[in-house]
């Protein structure tokens, strides 16, 4: 196709792959088998399979699952209705803009909104209820995460709905399917790829985001990401941190395989 000489242009790119794709993964695996003094050991793996870490992994999973579920429940109808609007691409643009505002700024906003004297508590007081601390609870953590991930879930679903041929829907309706049956048997199966990419871009970060847990959930909610950050930057135990990272990578690969698509249909 292209001439052979252009293979020389691959040189910096392959260097990048060697140093920043393959080497880092190898280093993580290597460090996971080192103890604090740099001796070879499997103790980190043994430690990971103790109740403390297993429980943390399970709760992290549970939170990520809830976050993904709520995000999907809100995002799918939004994407669906967006495709029905007149200037759909303009509206989609307006959905995307908030995702470009720095994530930390949005998280910071919720420190104020959920604060003891913040607007949400002021609203609760109007109904004669006592104001209470919403920050540093599971609820605030899940709410903020869902808020952050909604645009990322909407985009792939919107794209797959947009590609859907409307005549298929008309055909289903003509053949007597109710709107619910049409959705369940035609629309949803044909847009499952978009849903899968949406789950990918939500679930994996939900396992690993540590700034939201730090800022919003205090130290109450610990996710895999928070644990890695803690081991690397606070406890300085790179071995244990790497071990958790190895498991995070394994989980990631499993999710990629589960939600993988035959054709590389990235939005």
């Amino acid at each position: 196709m292209f001439n052979k000489a252009s293979k020389g242009s691959l040189f910096p790119y392959t260097i990048w792959i060697a140093f920043f794709v393959i080497a880092p993964i190898a280093l993580i695996v290597y460090y996971s088998m080192l103890d604090l003094n740099g001796n070879f050991t499997f103790n980190n793996y043994k430690a990971f399979f103790t109740p403390v870490y297993l429980k943390m992994t399970l709760t992290s999973f549970w939170y990520a699952f809830l976050i993904t579920l709520f995000t999907l429940i809100i995002a799918y109808p939004t994407a669906f209705l967006l495709t029905k609007t007149k200037h759909k691409h303009l509206w989609l643009m307006l959905i995307i803009i908030p995702s470009w505002i720095n994530l930390l700024l949005k998280t910071y906003a919720f420190i104020g909104i959920f604060g003891l004297y913040g607007p949400v508590n002021a609203f609760i007081e109007v109904f004669g209820l006592e104001s209470k601390q919403i920050l540093f609870t599971d609820f605030s953590f899940i709410f903020v995460s869902v808020y952050i991930f909604i645009p990322f879930m909407i985009i792939p679903i919107f794209n797959s709905l947009d590609k859907l041929n409307p005549t298929l829907v008309y055909a289903a309706r003509d053949l007597g399917a109710s709107s619910f049956t049409t959705f369940r048997r035609v629309i949803f199966p044909l847009t499952i790829d978009g849903v899968k990419s949406g789950i990918q871009v939500t679930f994996i970060p939900a396992l690993s985001l540590f700034m939201i847990t730090r800022l919003i959930a205090g130290n109450k909610v610990i996710t895999l990401g928070t644990a890695i950050e803690q081991q690397f930057l606070v406890s300085q135990n790179w071995g244990m941190g790497s071990t958790i990272a190895v498991f995070l990578i394994i989980i990631m690969v499993v999710i990629m395989l589960l939600t993988g698509q035959k054709k590389g249909g990235r939005a």
């Binding site: 196709m1 001439n3 293979k7 691959l10 720095n102 998280t107 990631m252």
Partner: protein
């Protein structure tokens, strides 16, 4: 197409309100003379003045922009030539392997990228600071540039290259006069995305930045951990303004390049 029902419209409005409320909440209180985000006292610009008077903050802002521009440029350079190289590979297996390796950093969690780069830099002996942050930003931006450029290259008709070669163009001329102009929209999109990745990144930078160097995201994090400071609100106001300007700019640029490519095709 049917018109949307009132309930549907209400739902969409609600989603938009929830998406934008926190952002406008931040900006609203950035003009508050009281020191909190609960009670609006009176209008003031003092928090904006505080941002511009804080030379440390300004330096961090400049650092962030420099890292974004520089890493965007370098990633675009390496990524574009990488994509051209990938297309030139005939062996299908090797090509697919490279493409899968390309996507590893896109799907990897930030924490894992940050942690592994920290190990890498410590082992190689690169001092944590500007260099390590710049290198990491280049590293995680390259794959996105490749993904933006690749479709343009694949859509390109190879007879164009054959024609240029038949007409006596050198390989260099083929590259600069035929290939690069053709894939230009992909290159621009790649550069633009690489920059937004860099500006947005917190987790990777947080791991590989040393004590002396900081970017805006990392600085906001440490300020937010210390509690509420309306300087952060003023920063949000500025960030939002810049984002809107960039969106409008990008909209016009892509619209123009669409027109141009349509005319070329005619």
């Amino acid at each position: 197409m049917k018109k949307l029902s009132t309930a549907s419209k209400l739902y969409l409005v609600l989603v938009f309100v929830v998406l934008y409320a926190p952002i406008f909440y931040l900006i609203f209180y950035s003009f508050n003379s009281g020191g909190n985000m609960n009670h609006f006292e009176s209008f003031t610009l003092e928090h904006y003045q505080a941002v511009f008077a804080d030379s440390r903050l300004i330096i961090i802002l400049i650092n962030t922009v420099i890292v974004a521009l520089l890493s965007g440029f370098l990633a675009t350079l390496i990524g574009t030539f990488g994509a051209i190289g990938i297309v030139s590979i005939r062996n299908k297996k090797m090509r697919n392997t490279l493409l899968s390796l390309n996507n590893v950093l896109i799907v990897s969690p930030d924490v894992v990228i940050g942690a592994s780069f920290l190990i890498l830099f410590t082992l190689i002996g690169i001092k944590l600071g500007f260099t390590s942050v710049l290198i990491s930003h280049v590293a995680f931006s390259i794959p996105i540039v490749v993904l933006m450029v690749l479709p343009k290259l694949l859509a390109m008709n190879t007879t164009l290259i054959d024609a240029a070669l038949d007409l006596g163009a050198t390989k260099r001329q083929v590259l600069t006069r035929v290939i690069l102009p053709y894939i230009q929209p992909g290159i621009f999109a790649g550069f633009f995305l690489a920059m937004t990745y860099s500006l947005d990144d917190f987790a990777v930078t947080f791991f590989v930045t040393g004590n002396g160097f900081s970017t805006l995201s990392v600085e906001i994090y440490s300020m937010a951990r210390a509690g509420i400071s309306l300087t952060v609100n003023a920063i949000s106001g500025l960030v939002f303004l810049v984002t809107i300007l960039v969106v409008i700019g990008y909209y016009f640029v892509t619209n123009r390049s669409k027109h141009v490519s349509k005319e070329v095709q005619r």
